[in-house]
Assembly symmetry: C2
């Protein structure tokens, strides 16, 4: 149990559980897994414009977990503390059949950005590009082929997920709705759209550089990597057109990225709009409706 001085406004609470069998790919160390567990929570704070303050970590450790493994977890939590300015204030340790790290994070905010504020005509924005984490997983788990440079970037995106907290905090005042994209860009668009009762027309696909070539070299669907991969921990949100210039300055000041990829629409469907033609972007996975 920890006590934390409560400041004004609202308390923000978030939990995210990392499970060894599904969230820890081959080649990820305990240190990386610990930091990832914290990143999963930080990403949500970034997307909501709430500054995280502290976190607790509940651990499930396999019998035979070594002191080096436990030390790795401690180092990973310290890495997270330094990276995002948060404090580990307690936790709980148990024996389990696989590694489990549940991160419970709290912070304070005057207001948080919701999912239901998008209006037709507003801009659709993201704070990063998509497709590297699913490519990195294919490299780690299935030995997918690629250049050394792409491999490095793709693996980094998997092993060191890095939600842009400063950019999210800087952007929050300009957002009418937002969420993080940990479940994939398509899922985020559908979720935001349903909550706000709007649709989205995407006219610029925010693919990370090299993802197209990687997809071709490995016989994979480019679209699936970009839309349905997930684990990008990028903010997906909407803003009024008149906010764009100020929002760009704010994000630049936080050394972040801001990309306009489309707009919210009255018609409640999520589509890719290119060259006058529209293709539906389904909620889960990608189906070419061409």
């Amino acid at each position: 149990m920890a006590t934390i001085p409560a400041t004004g406004g609202k308390l923000v609470l978030k939990v995210d559980m990392l499970v060894g069998g599904t969230d820890v790919p081959r080649g990820m160390t305990y240190r990386q897994a610990a930091k990832k567990a914290v990143a999963m929570c930080v990403s949500d704070f970034a997307a909501k414009g709430a500054r995280p303050d502290s976190f607790m970590a509940s651990l499930g450790l396999r019998r035979g977990t070594t002191n080096a493994d436990i030390n790795g977890l401690a180092l990973g939590f310290r890495d997270a503390e330094r990276e995002w300015g948060v404090r580990l204030v307690g936790g709980d340790t148990n024996e389990a059949k696989e590694l489990v790290i549940d991160c419970a994070m709290i912070g304070f905010a005057e207001e948080v950005v919701g999912r239901d504020g998008a209006k037709p005509g507003e801009l659709l924005v993201v704070t990063g590009t998509f497709g590297l984490p699913p490519a990195g997983l294919m490299i780690l788990e299935k030995g997918a082929r690629c250049s050394a440079g792409f491999r490095k970037k793709a693996l980094e995106s998997v092993l060191y997920p890095n939600p842009a907290l400063d950019a999210g905090l800087a952007l929050a005042p300009y957002l009418t709705s937002s969420m993080d994209s940990s479940d994939g860009l398509a899922r985020s668009l559908h979720t935001l759209g349903e909550a706000s009762r709007v649709g989205f027309a995407v006219d610029s696909v925010p693919a990370s550089p090299g993802v197209g070539a990687f997809a071709r070299a490995n016989g994979l669907e480019f679209e699936r990597l970009v839309w349905a991969g997930g684990e990008e921990y990028v903010l997906v949100g909407t803003m009024r057109r008149k906010s764009l210039a100020a929002a760009r300055r704010a994000v630049r000041g936080a050394r972040g990225t801001l990309l306009v990829i489309g707009r919210a629409t009255k018609e409640r469907k999520v589509v890719l709009s290119r060259g006058g033609a529209e293709e539906a972007i389904p909620d889960e996975g990608w189906t070419h409706l061409g």
Copy 2:
């Protein structure tokens, strides 16, 4: 992610992870497991005199978990909400190799009772008796024999752990130190003693009725059941002698129990003191020192 209006004072945060393989005995339903996971957190709030407000639940579910199981979890959380006046405000669901329920609970308090405030000469008090949960586990897991009446009480203590939240809140203003006894009475006494730099002399063994007969009938050490069992979720604390009358009234008003079982001592050892003789109460388990 949930937002909760922050009131003054201190924010109190606690996590506790229930793991199927170690915390869910044979015969415990999903509904009971869910409520137990919340009880594990409530117990710590009760011991610290902090009123819990809300909780989140991170779930690890085995492949093949049925809708009935998930419904059971939901009912168990609702049971907990009603029993302790807390609110489930969110969570996270994952696939895992065994059932995992991590409860993250928050509350607010002006002050919480620490572990380091006990002074020599103060009274050692508990809010319940000990030995039923370990007996219940022996019945569930090993088929230990006992009367029908004892069986019912012992199983209830395992399947419906019930930290005395109201009694803890009522008692808190009178306590100089406290903690909960989820790891067993002996462990609690050593932990409190070390934190407060005192020892304890216990002169009244707070055994639950029937535990002695149960131990004899099954060839078990009575002392081990009472001192080293754990999962009683009882408050163990200290108070000044002059506080006792008012504390008794307060706990009675909360329909709780308050037992004086000994006193804090200057000499930093934990002993059972009976008939002028002293026996050491070891930190873990029980060794008869004659």
